[in-house]
Every structure is written in C-alpha cells, then in structure tokens.
C-alpha cells in the first residue's frame, strides 16, 4: 500500500504540480510589463573612447547584450553580488569583508547540483559517462569503501550553516519567516535521509531504478509491482523530495527562475543609445494630462505646454524677447 501511494500516486501528483506551477509562475511574470529600462549600474558606463572600462565595468554596467549575458551568468554561477558583500560596523570606519553567506550559498548550490547530477543515474539508462566520471571523481573512487560522495555530505553541512545563520545572527533571525526555516528543515530532512539510506539502512537501488524508469514511461502496472518491494526508508526520502517538488513553485525557491527575470540585472545600460518603449504608455501626452481614473473618478492635471506657459507669463517672456533672448550684466 505504502508503495502504491508514495511510489506511484504521490510522485505523479508532485511532478504535475511542479511542472504546472513553474510554468504558471513564469508565464505570470512574463506577462507583466516592463515599463522602463532600469538596470542597476555597478560600474563605469560606456562612454567616450578615452574613458577606460575594465572588465568588471563591462559586466557591472553592461552595454551590449553579451555583456549583459555575462553579468547574468556570473551572477548565476558565481553569486557575484554576494561576493561583494561587506559588513558595516558602527564602531569602525573600515569595513570587513563578510563573504560567509557567499561561501555557504556556493557550498549548498554546487553540492545540490552534483547530487542532482548523480541522481540522474536513477532515471537514465545507460548512465551517461560524464555522470559516472563526475561521481567517481568526487568520491575519490577506491579510497573509501563504500565510496563516500563528498557532495552529499557537504550539502548537509552547508544547510546547517545556513540555518545556524538564521538562528544565531540577530538580524537574520528577525528577518526569517517560518517558511524560511521550513525549507531549510525540509532540505535537511531530505539530504539526511538520503545519506542514511546510502551508508546505513540500504535500499535496493536496482528496484528504485526500476520503479523510476517505469514511472517515466507510464508503465503503471509494473511500477506498482516494483514499488511494493522497496524498503520503507526509501519512501521517507522519496516522499519528502516529492513534497519539496510540489512546494517549489509556491515558495521563495522560485528564486531559481526569478533570477533571470529581474530587470535591474537583465537589461543593458544603453538607454542613451536605444530607446525603450513602454508597452502601456504611448508617450505622446503625459498620462496625468489625459487623466488617471481611481474608483470611477478621473483626476486630470492641466499640461503646461508652451502656449499655456506663454499666456500665463506673457509680460515677462516678452521682456526676454525684447532683450533678444540675450542676458548681459546690467550697467551699474
């Protein structure tokens, strides 16, 4: 019974929610307009040729789409902004670098990547050779028996460190919502149960692979059969992972997709070369002069165009006209 529920029904539901949820969120973001081109410029703009730009300037204040792509990639793969982090001390004029968050973040995300790559062996037949190679390298194959996968352990450590930050640093504790603790606990439970399964209470991995490949080709009868043979410890790990998958689109974990959508980073700083068009404002007449409507009432501001202006201040403007638009010092 456990096998059918957690081995077949739950994963299908979880994957369905995950896929639909992520697609929904992305479409939802993409459907929202980008009215202005507002990159946060972190370096020297493109300017006259004699104003030199370093490689950092090119990425921090990108002008071309390649430089912008570079900025995004550095952000995604190296968490570049976190690498700039400093900490402010009230009692010192200097600042100390505080890159722990960067370190923990990198530790976590890269181990996660390795772990996921390693897990692909349960879905793919034959197992791609790079997955094998990568696993062998990180496990220092042959040194320990059974092989110890470094990433699987580092990820647990990193998660603990990230959580300790939220518990012991006062600022971070104040900022942390229950959901922030929750995802960390969930990830810890998943990774720890995974490690337990690997080193202590073993599950039959051939059966697991059998189950997953059958699920993938919707061979449900066979899947149910296999599912009932697998040890319960597997379902703790697997069930939690399914839960995470289903929770993903509704949580802050969506930052994984959102990082691509932030207009402060994904737009080039080329406002003066190429005009950005606002999809909801044709920019012919100011919106306020057309009037904005709130609760059924329209509020309209009069536009000070040149003719109105001239009419309002005619005498003074005519004096300027008489002086032939020239200002000279008054004779004393």
């Amino acid at each position: 019974m456990i096998g059918v529920i957690f081995g077949v029904i739950v994963p299908y539901i979880a994957v369905a929610i995950f896929v639909a949820g992520v697609i929904y969120r992305i479409i939802n973001w993409a459907s929202s307009a980008v009215p202005l081109k507002v990159p946060t410029t972190g370096g020297q703009q493109k300017s006259f040729p004699f104003i030199k730009r370093t490689i950092y300037d090119r990425f921090d204040s990108p002008y071309t789409k390649w430089e912008t792509a570079g900025r995004m990639l550095l952000e995604i793969f190296f968490f570049r902004s976190l690498l700039k982090n400093t900490r402010y001390y009230l009692d010192r004029t200097s600042q100390k670098d505080a890159r722990w968050l960067w370190l923990f973040g990198i530790m976590f995300h890269y181990s996660l990547l390795l772990v996921l790559i390693r897990h692909s062996r349960f879905f793919l037949e034959p197992v791609p050779s790079f997955v094998e190679t990568l696993s062998n390298i990180e496990a220092f194959k042959g040194v320990f028996i059974p092989s110890v996968y470094i990433s699987g352990l580092v990820i647990v450590v990193a998660l603990f460190l990230l959580w300790l930050r939220r518990i012991f640093l006062s600022r971070e504790r104040t900022l942390s919502l229950p959901s922030d603790h929750f995802v960390l606990i969930l990830l810890l439970a998943i990774t720890i149960s995974g490690n337990i399964m690997r080193y202590f209470i073993k599950a039959d991995l051939y059966e697991v692979k059998e189950l997953l490949t059958n699920l993938m080709i919707f061979n449900i009868g066979k899947a149910i059969e296999v599912a009932n043979n697998i040890e319960p410890i597997f379902y703790i790990h697997f069930g939690l992972a399914c839960f995470l998958l289903a929770y993903f689109p509704f949580s802050k974990l969506m930052h994984a997709g959102g990082v691509l959508f932030t207009p402060t980073r994904n737009m080039p700083n080329d406002n003066r070369a190429r005009r950005h068009v606002n999809p909801w404002d044709p920019a012919d007449v100011p919106l306020l002069s057309k009037g904005i409507t709130v609760a059924g009432m329209t509020f309209k501001s009069k536009k000070l165009d040149w003719d109105t202006y001239h009419e309002m201040y005619a005498d003074q403007l005519e004096e300027i006209e008489e002086a032939d638009f020239k200002i000279v010092p008054e004779e004393l």
Binding site: R25, W29, S32, V34, P35, K37, V38, T40, T41, F48, I51, Y63, F79, S81, L82, K84, Y88, L90, T93, L101, S170, R171, T174, L175, S176, L177, S179, F250, K252, H255, V259, T262, P263, T264, R265, N271, R272, A273, R274, R275, V277, D281, A283, D284, P286, L287, L288, V294, A295, F299, S301, K302, L304, W306, Q316, L317, I320, E321, F325, P329
Partner: protein
C-alpha cells in the same frame, strides 16, 4: 529648521518575526514626513486622487473604499511592472542587503533594512495575492491591510531615499528603491502624498521649475551671475535664454539659480559657455520653460515624473537645438538617463535629426571637430552630462585649464547615488577633477562609485521635518569624509548633485567636520582660462567664491 538631537543614539533592535508583522504605532520624531496639503495635490496643474482634503497622520480621512482602491492599485502595479512582481516573489530574506542601507545603519530600526522595508508591502501582497498567504495567514508571513498598516507603509516609504545601494548587493538585484517607488504611487491613489516633494512637483508643473521661479526671476538670477563674473574676471560675459536657433539647450537643476554652494557651479557653467562661444562659435541657450533639470516627480510616481519631464524634449524641439546638455544633479540623471526617452517622444526637429546622423561637434562648430557622441548616445536620447562634455573638451585639448588656481583646495568626490547606480557616470568626473586640480583624493573604496553612500536626503527626504533621519542617514558618508579629512587634510567635498549640496553643509556641521561643499563645475570654472577673451593663466585674481587666489607671502 528642526534640529536633530544633540546626542544621537543608535539603538539596534531585533524583534521576532511576529513582531515585525505588527504595524509600528509610535512614529519617531524627525522621521515622519508631513502629508500634502490640498494646494499641492489638488492644484489645477497637479491633481492627485482625493487631494482635496487636508489630512494628518492621526486622521487620514481616507476615502470610504480605500482598501479596495489600494489593492486595485497594487494589482495594477503587479501587471504594469514586472520588477515589482518578481521582487515580491523571489526575495529569500538572506539579509545581504540589510546593513547596506544608510538609514538602517543610522537608525537601527529593523524595518529600515531594505528587506524589512520591502517586507512591509510584501506581507500585504502575500495576504491578498498568493495562495499560501490566503490560507496560512500570519504563518506564511502575510498580514491584513489595516489603517495602521497603511500608516506604517507611509512612514517607511518616506524613509527610503531611493538610492539603490541595496540593489547592488542583492543576489537577485532586488531594487528596494523600485518597490518603494511603486508603493508611493499606490499610496497616492488613496490620497497619501508627501508634502515636501509635492510642493516642488506642483510648482514645477505650474511654472516649469521646482522653486516656482517665474521667467523674469530666472533671467534676473542668471544676470546676477554674469555681474559677479564681471567682478571676478573683468570681462563682459553674456548668455542666451529661450533662444531659438542655438546649438545646444542647457538644463540645470533650479537650485543652481539661487542656493549656495550651487551658485558657484552656476558661475562655472557660464564661464565655460562663454569660452566655447567666443572661441568656437558654439551657442548654448537656457530656457525658462525647460528651466528645471531635476524632477521631483521621479520620487513620486511614473506619472508625476512624466508630467514634469515631458516639457524638455518639447522645448528642445521648439528651440531647434541639436542636443541637450544637463547640469550637476543626481536624480535628474536617473530621470534623464533611464526615464525620459521612454516617457516621451524625442525631438523631431531637423537640426536634431541632422546632428545625430553624424554626431560630431565639428558639425556645429568646426573647431570642436573630433568630439563625437556616437560611442554611447543617439538621437533617440540626446542628453550629455556636463562633466562628460568637459572631460571630452579636456581630452581633445579644446579648453585651456590652469590647475594651480585650485591649489587652495584639497578635494574629495562624492558619487551621487543616481548617477553612479542609475547611469554609471563614475570615471568622467574623476577625469575632470584630476585635470583641473592638483589635490584630489578618493574616499575609501567601499563608500564610493557603485557602493557610494547616499547623502541621506535624496528621494524627496530633504524635508526639514526629517532632520533627525537625515543626520542619521548621512552618517556613513560623513565617517568616510572624516577619514579623508584626517588622512589627507581634505577641505572640500565635491558633488555634482543639487540635493547633496543642500544636505552636506548641514551634515558636515552636525558631524563637526570642517570641510566645505562644492561642485566639480566650480573647480572647472576656477581653472578655466578664458583664452578667447585674452585671459592669461596668471591673470585671474579671485576664485568663484570671490576669495583672492594668491596667498600672501609667509601665510
């Protein structure tokens, strides 16, 4: 003027997450902005929803269905601005931005951490726009929109100077300034506007500039500048205003017409324009209609920004100029760099089009051939910063400068937030300063360029009633100034921003740092040799402040 407290105590508090969701009821003195009066927001020229009643924070006099209106405005914002929506969703509350905000550093108030500030509205977003918030409520970090929450939103939306420093450090580039900007727009939909900025917005939409100067006033002010320059240089100088057929339109922030130390920058502009006209025949005109470079509307909302900046391209077109030079102002360049050509149609006059086909200054004045703008600008925009312009003139050896005339100054340079983080103008001012003066030192690296600290009064917070907040917010900047003051004996803080020039004199006095304030164009004006008038480097006897240049022997 309200005074900041004698003794400034920074009390850091770390409440629980639950407490963070509860609206603050007691507002600190010196940190709450006054609400607008009907004459500012119910004016013929600037009419905001429900602007016809006088309100204060004890009695908001909200329209009956305010909650609905506010949430509608929020929905509208979510659809109209992807940044806002994405920023509502993806913050992971990592805290990287927390101690990057000068107001947080200065006040210790946890809701002044950029993420704390964003959470104020994010919690409302969760409650009304996300399933988790609807179902789990407080546990999901969601809260009801009540009148107290609305007050709190107002209180903290006007404790952010829109400086974007937080955005630099955030792994997703979450720009709290942008969140706050759209939040202010939502607040204005239920009738809550901040008085200080709407005074200027209303004045600017009625007269063309923030100060409400009429054409004659602006004329007279510039004329006085020319008179002072006659005393200083001995030459009869002139300039143009509203002149059709000039080559260039020049737009400065209106504070430059009056305030000190802005005034010395004004004199610097005038000297430069005279030299360029006499020597090369390049004519530059001012305009009373487009007499405001700043744009307080850009602190308020998209629409208000557009109402104010819509005049400028129109005026360029009417006068038939080829391009526009903008003066020393920070937020002006957020507006003129990132907003103006999206919010308006660029000029369509012949001169403009012709120039931008081959944007070489030689097309306007033969002697200036070789200075080209097409490495970064086009006719779809057409604005050049005065310091970029001067940098190019120096590089191409088109003006003669005598550095030694600035020898009494040991300068440091403050990067205004908006031109550093909203434009990327970082090296040009430094290039200019190194070429017009001998003593120039930068402040520590973590306080300049893209990491520059705000002056604490930007984004509409230059109001007198915010003195406490301003003096706290400026603290990190002041500590950096004190550092170079002690280390290099710096005696002037240069900044190309009108708001800085208004804020820093108070701040330096409050923090007891004996340093003057000025703008780079003042230094350019001092050093500029008016060769076209026959001036020799050693001829100038006074600097633009009217002080004698040559120090007495033995001093």
């Amino acid at each position: 003027m309200e005074e900041a407290p004698e003794r400034l105590e920074i009390r850091q508090r770390f409440p629980s997450w639950r407490e963070m969701l509860k609206p603050v009821k007691k507002f600190e003195e010196g940190r709450v902005s006054y609400l607008s009066l009907p004459k500012q927001v119910n004016s013929e020229f600037f009419k905001m929803p429900f602007g016809d009643v006088e309100r204060d924070l004890d009695d908001l006099k909200l329209p009956e269905n305010w909650k609905e209106i506010f949430l509608d405005a929020m929905k509208d914002t979510l659809e109209k601005n992807r940044a806002f929506k994405v920023f509502m969703d993806i913050c992971v509350r990592c805290g990287a931005c927390a101690d990057k905000c000068h107001y947080y550093i200065g006040t210790g108030d946890p809701k002044n951490m950029p993420v704390g500030r964003a959470e104020l509205i994010r919690s409302v977003y969760r409650r009304y726009f996300t399933p988790a918030g609807k179902i789990f409520g407080e546990l999901a970090g969601a809260r009801e929109l009540t009148e107290d929450v609305l007050k709190e939103l107002y209180y903290y939306a006007y404790q952010c100077s829109l400086c974007r420093r937080c955005s630099v450090f955030c792994p997703y580039g979450i720009d709290t300034a942008e969140i706050v900007w759209w939040l202010r727009r939502m607040l204005s939909r239920v009738g809550l506007n901040q008085r200080f900025m709407t005074i200027s917005i209303e004045a600017s939409s009625r007269t063309g500039n923030h100060l409400g100067l009429l054409p004659g006033g602006m004329y007279g002010s510039i004329q006085q500048g020319l008179e002072e320059l006659k005393d200083i240089t001995g030459f009869d100088l002139h300039t143009y205003i509203n002149k059709k057929g000039a080559d260039v339109l020049f737009v400065a922030p209106s504070a430059d017409y009056f305030a000190t130390p802005h005034w010395y920058v004004m004199l610097g502009y005038l000297l430069l324009f005279n030299e360029l006209e006499e020597r090369y025949g390049l004519t530059i005109t001012w305009s009373t209609y487009a007499g405001e470079g700043g744009n307080f509307g850009s602190f308020h909302s998209y629409e208000a920004a557009q109402l104010l900046n819509s005049k400028l391209y129109k005026e360029a077109e009417r006068l038939g100029v080829s391009f526009i030079i903008g003066g020393e102002c920070g937020h002006m360049w957020r507006d003129k760099h990132q907003f103006i050509n999206t919010m308006n149609q660029p000029p369509k006059n012949e001169e403009w089009k012709r120039f931008w086909e081959n944007p070489d200054l030689g097309e306007l004045a033969e002697g200036l051939r070789g200075i080209r703008f097409d490495s970064y600008a086009s006719g779809e925009h057409g604005w050049i910063h005065i310091l970029e312009f001067v940098a190019a003139l120096i590089e191409h050896k088109k003006i003669k400068v005598d550095k030694s005339r600035n020898d009494q100054w040991i300068a440091t340079y403050h990067d205004p937030c908006n031109i550093a983080r909203g434009m990327g103008l970082i090296e040009e001012p430094r290039y200019v300063l190194r070429n017009v003066m001998n003593n120039f030192y930068d402040m520590p690296e973590h306080t300049i360029k893209d990491k520059t600290y705000c002056c604490g009064a930007g984004g509409g917070l230059l109001a007198d009633e915010l003195m406490d907040l301003r003096m706290r917010g400026v603290m990190p900047r002041m500590m950096a100034v004190r550092h170079v003051y002690k280390k290099y004996g710096v005696n002037i803080l240069l900044t190309p921003c009108a708001i800085d020039k208004a804020q820093f004199p108070h701040a330096l006095e409050y923090w007891k740092i004996p340093v003057e304030v000025g703008g780079p164009m003042e230094m350019v004006g001092n050093a500029l040799v008016l060769t076209a008038f026959g001036e020799k480097p050693e001829d100038r006897q006074y600097d633009l402040r009217g002080e004698p240049l040559k120090k007495e022997e033995g001093e």
